[in-house]
Amino acid sequence: MKIAVLKFPGTNGEYDVIKALEAVDMSGEVVWYKDYAPGKYDAVVVAGGFSYGDRLRAGAIAAKTKATSHLAEDVARGTPVLGICNGFQILTEAELLPGALVPNDPPGFVCKWIRVRVEDNDTPFTTLYERGQVIRLPVAHAEGRYIPTAPYRVVFRYVDNPNGSIDDVAGVAQANVLGMMPHPERAVDPHVSRGGTGGAALWLSLRQWLKK
């Protein structure tokens, strides 16, 4: 199976995703945005970071690239797509997910471990979680306040809302696309993850889903 980890200028979470995939016996390929072609991958992860330095607003410029247009083609094809943090912001700016992510309330960059509750285990990325299960994941962002603008399907909800998100939304899905502000790739390896391994089941879920 081929998993693309999409990288824009300023993306910095791509190797954490590769490591997380390897931890569950999968592998991923970092794909530079100019090299991304539709129809080539079984799944795509839009990694976190600060694409284009968050200029204009987080995710806005990456959302207007040809790579994101190609990604939309893969979404239409049913390819599972996960956007983490800045990846989530890119997916909302590209309108591949509903809503918008605006600066935190209270304002500022928040970087800490938080608890999130799994609200929906019927996505390619959450089948191995129990509905209602509370896991710990790290967040690191300044623009993570979710503002819903259309009917939305909550997959993760903050137990300790760190950014003022409406309805405590931490992650939403639409078809096979999931976007989330917390970082599941940084909560996999017990040797480096002091907050636990709550993200591991997400990658295992994807593996199981792709093997079907």
Binding site: E93, A100, V102, N104, D105, P106, P107, G164
Partner: protein, 84 residues
């Protein structure tokens, strides 16, 4: 002719804007100034147009096409247009 169009991008009134709230509460109120502030972003677009009206029209078209504001949460308006 070359024009500069000042495009103001701000959050819709229904969206809380914590930067402006902080400026209002922690700076202005502290100085005894009873004024509410809301923060936004002003972009200067340099473009060619035949007259002011066309410059404004072009700027608004660009703003919509390039999503200079996120229509879900922002409003944008031209606050000034000037011939260079």
């Amino acid at each position: 002719m070359r024009y500069v169009v000042y495009l103001n991008v701000t959050y819709k009134p229904t969206i809380r804007e914590p930067e402006g709230e902080t400026i209002t509460r922690e700076l202005l109120k502290r100085l005894g100034i009873d004024v509410e502030a809301r923060a936004g972003k002003c972009l200067q677009l340099y473009l060619e147009a035949e007259n002011d009206g066309e410059a404004v029209e072009k700027a608004l078209k660009i703003a919509r096409e390039a999503r200079l504001g996120n229509p879900n949460v922002h409003t944008f308006e031209v606050v000034k247009v000037a011939k260079l």
